[in-house]
């Protein structure tokens, strides 16, 4: 069939083994290319952006055709820190291959669609194309990830890139608020996910996702709750769904791609991938089903309430994701198979429906169903696409959605135990409502029935005229036709779909291998239920399309915003308290903290190794040093302070003599002399007295100072009480003479052993000298006359404004 890609083709084998990285690099290069080319013209940026996903999708399809996906998963690992299990690990198995087809295939089509969606003169093309491809890349990384670290990194990357895409229109405050809400909710869920993955990895003893074993006990419950929180935020499950309708502020290609087909599936995928580890954890199943069934019903109700076509689809997505989460957290072979099939079908029909809404939006200028009339006549191709995709969503034969929904009902009927009834009510109730909102969507958008409140409108025409429609854009039509057509083709060639979803489901649960999608099941219980669902949903849908209600309030979204604003306000309050701008207070705070951190040393003190002094002269010198230092602190003139500094330096030199360190003595004396001279030359002529500080602050400083001194003494005494061994003084001395060839051991250490350090020291001194030179020569533009016209103020006082004129 495909000689070029034949099973024995060497070319294919070569490509396949390295394709993993080739595709990754192609995506990264594509991001750069799209950013640069899109700057000039958005069409070029999008066209370049489409290349990498197209290649990835074709490659994944090739692997599926070769059966490589299931038989020969590609594993690739890039170890960062091996001891910590930190690595980027990817595995391309059957499930990941199927997801690659969806992510990259729909991605490529969305790029093409966006060419039509944005006019040729749209601004921000580089940013948009690059962000969209960056998202596509992150999503690929997410579906390929095979270690908890990799999964988390790409999970967060999809949140961030999604934020950039939702907030594409970055001049609109409402859009930015929606983008922020989406980022905060999914990002917060990401943190829960990280915690959950860490617990799971520890309990299960591996960070490799495909090696995760079953877990049990209290930690497993924690892990289950945390991971489900992550999944529920990402997949917009009740009550975290509030970000998804807001995210419809994004350009429609983004909504079609991120908020229906791919990113929101990340949570579903996560539940599928780690679900087998939680097979014995009841909390996992119960919480997952609670999220799922609640979202299924509430999302469908939301879709029936809203009057913006795009919002109807968004709420429908919440409902469908709920169904997927329910099926996958039930976790039986049948349910996993149904879940994966539905995931596949949903990606196709929901992306197509979003593309339809985007096209309607562009060609009519509105998405409000009240303002859209008779589009079936004026946009026949779009109508056809919408009917195909919509009926697939409603689960009507002969479309892929029908067989997938059939499998779902079969799976729920096949459950036993407590989960049977909640799942049945949720799935069947959700399905009825799905049929209803689908029909309402199709009738109100495309039908020519006069708006029910026509008499309230200004123009007195009894039957509302069809909405005016702009000409068709080919780039928008083709991807929608392909995606919806695949729903029909998938039903006709059901075997091909089975060979894609079957291995993927088997990857998750071995028992899934016995199931397959059936085009025509015959009159069985599931089929009867399915037909009843369609019939009752249709009645409900027709009723709902006639009934008008005011646009509903965005329940919960304002609450989420209030929470975020409150958090920001709290952060500002804390900053306001902590970041006051006073350097002395910062230093005192740090000093006190460090001193208190040293308090454990107080408990490790031992008195028996302490002597009062090594020689009496040491005690005299020590007292002198302390006395001079204290004098320096309280003397009131700068000159006096400089002199006490010199005295302290001399005393310390004396202590060096006692300790047997002649090199230190020499250096210290030299250094001290220069510092005192520098002090006098640099600041001595200030001559004024030090400013006085308030008494309270003075006492605080004294307290911090006392704490610091005690802490250092305690630390030193405690450390010397527990030496880790005797210093090898004799060895060092011998080595200095024999290897270093010098008798002064300290000098040998400095030049031979740590020569590079000494070189660095020289560099530091040279840099300091340069800095001082620059500071001294810099021109002064401030109130230079207050310096008393001393010789140092050689800089010419110049007005910066004088330069500009």
């Amino acid at each position: 069939m495909l000689p070029f890609f034949g099973r024995t083709s060497i070319l294919w084998a070569m490509f396949s083994s390295s394709a993993f990285w080739v595709i990754g690099v192609a995506h990264v290069l594509g991001i750069a290319g799209a950013a640069m080319l899109g700057q000039r013209s958005i069409r070029r940026g999008l066209a370049v952006g489409a290349l990498a996903p197209a290649v990835a999708a074709l490659w994944a399809i090739g692997r599926l055709l070769q059966d490589d996906a299931a038989n020969d998963p590609i594993v690739s690992e890039l170890t960062w820190v091996s001891g910590l299990d930190l690595s980027l690990r990817f595995q391309l198995d059957a499930l990941a291959t199927m997801m690659t087809v969806l992510v990259s295939g729909i991605g490529a089509m969305v790029f093409v669609y966006a060419i039509g969606y944005f006019g040729p003169k749209a601004k921000g093309g580089g940013r948009f194309s690059a962000s969209l491809l960056a998202f596509s890349t992150s999503m690929l990384g997410l579906v390929w990830a095979d270690s908890v670290w990799t999964l988390f990194i790409f999970w967060e990357l999809t949140s961030v890139t999604s934020f950039l895409l939702v907030g594409h229109k970055n001049t609109d405050g409402a859009v930015l608020a929606a983008a922020r809400r989406a980022l905060m909710i999914t990002g917060g869920g990401g943190l829960a996910l990280l915690a959950g993955l860490l617990v799971l990895a520890r309990e299960s003893g591996t960070t490799v996702l495909s090696d995760l074993g079953p877990v049990a006990g209290t930690p497993a419950v924690w892990a289950a709750v945390l991971i489900l929180l992550g999944a529920a935020t990402k997949s917009a499950q009740l009550p975290f769904h509030v970000w998804l309708p807001g995210a419809m502020a994004a350009p429609t290609p983004v909504s079609a791609y991120l908020h229906s087909a791919t990113m929101v599936k990340a949570g579903v995928l996560l539940v599928a991938v780690v679900g087998s580890s939680f097979a014995d954890v009841t909390t996992w199943k119960a919480l997952g089903m609670a999220f799922g069934t609640a979202s299924m019903i509430w999302g469908a109700v939301g879709a029936l309430r809203h009057r913006d076509a795009k919002l109807i689809l968004a709420w429908g997505t919440i409902s469908q994701l709920g169904l997927l989460i329910t099926l996958l957290s039930i976790g039986t072979g049948k349910a996993i198979f149904a879940g994966i099939s539905l995931l596949f079908a949903h990606a196709l029909f929901k992306a197509a429906l979003f593309l339809v809404v985007g096209e309607i939006d562009i060609r009519t200028g509105t998405r409000e169903i009240d303002e859209l009339h008779g589009l079936a006549r004026s946009m026949p191709i779009t109508f056809g696409v919408a009917v195909l995709a919509g009926l697939s969503m409603a689960g009507v034969p002969p479309l892929l959605g029908f067989t997938a929904k059939e499998a779902a009902i079969e799976a729920v009927l096949g459950t036993s135990g407590w989960e049977r009834w909640p799942a049945l009510i949720g799935v069947i109730g959700g399905a009825v409502l799905t049929v209803a909102y689908t029909l309402r969507f199709l009738l109100t958008v495309f039908g020519s029935t006069p708006a029910p409140h026509a008499d309230l409108r200004d123009d007195d025409a009894p039957a509302v005229a069809d909405t005016r429609v702009a000409p068709r854009r080919l780039a928008m039509t083709v991807p929608a036709v392909i995606l919806s057509g695949l729903g029909l083709l998938g039903y006709i060639f059901i075997g091909a779909v089975n060979s894609i979803v079957g291995p993927a489901a088997t990857e998750l649960n071995e028992k899934s291998s016995v199931y397959e999608l059936i085009a025509w099941p015959g009159i069985k219980l599931a089929f009867v239920i399915s037909m009843l669902v369609v019939a009752s949903g249709a009645v409900l849908g027709v009723l709902a399309s006639r009934h008008t209600q005011a646009a509903p309030q965005p329940l919960g979204a304002d609450g989420a915003d209030r929470f975020l604003d409150g958090t920001l306000r709290m952060a500002r309050h804390i900053t306001y308290r902590v970041q006051h701008g006073s350097l002395p207070v910062y230093v005192a705070t740090m000093g006190a903290t460090a001193a208190l951190a040293a308090s454990p040393f107080l408990f490790a003190l031992e008195a028996d190794h302490l002597v009062l002094w090594d020689t009496p002269i040491q005690a005299v010198l020590a007292l002198g040093v302390i006395g001079a230092a204290i004098m320096g602190a309280f003397v009131n003139s700068r000159l006096g302070a400089a002199l006490t500094l010199g005295a302290v330096g001399l005393g310390v030199s004396g202590l060096f003599v006692v300790h047997g360190a002649p090199d230190l003595v020499l250096t210290q004396l030299l250094v001290e002399t220069i510092v005192v001279v520098g002090f006098v030359v640099g600041l001595g002529h200030l001559g004024q007295r030090f400013p006085r500080s308030s008494n309270i602050w003075r006492n605080v400083r004294l307290g911090v100072a006392a704490l610091g001194g005690i802490a250092v003494m305690a630390a030193l005494a405690a450390a010397s009480a527990n030496p880790s061994g005797q210093p090898p003084i004799a060895d060092v001395t011998e080595a200095a003479v024999e290897i270093g060839g010098g008798n002064n051991v300290v000098n040998v250490v400095l030049t031979d052993v740590r020569g590079l350090d000494t070189l660095g020291e020289v560099v530091v001194l040279a840099t300091v000298a340069l800095g001082i030179l620059a500071l001294a020569n810099a021109r002064v533009s401030g109130p230079s006359d207050t310096s008393g016209g001393s010789a140092e103020s050689n800089g010419v006082a110049s007005d910066p404004k004088g330069v500009t004129t």
Partner: protein, 155 residues
Amino acid sequence: MSVALLLAIGGLTSVGLYLITARSLSRIILGFSLLGHAAVLGLLTAGGPPGPAPIANQLDGAASANPVPQALALTAIVISFGLTLFLLALARRQQLLSGEDLVEDDLEDRRIRDEEPEAETDQGADAHGTSAEDDDRFAYDLEDADVATGTEAAS
């Protein structure tokens, strides 16, 4: 370990800490120097008891003082010397600019502190912008310059 040395180290640390929390830059420099002394003495003390100088041909087999901390301490002395001199130059510069050598509160931080936390919810960017202009006279200068050149070019 010698209590006298310990006290000297503790005393130097205390006074040093007291001085670096002062407002005057010259006192801060003084405090830095004292802390440097304390650190060097601490290094030496941690290395073991005193002894004869580590000069191999004058030891006659006796154990010397530990040479390794001495080598480390030498580096410490030199680096703290460089730091002190650089700080002195900075203090001198500050004094030339403002006539004093005081450490002012950070302007950015003070702006955050002075902002009314309640007022800034939605109009955050606006409040930020105006206060920046109020505080930063330099920004005005730049704007004026731009305007000036603009009119010149126009005329």
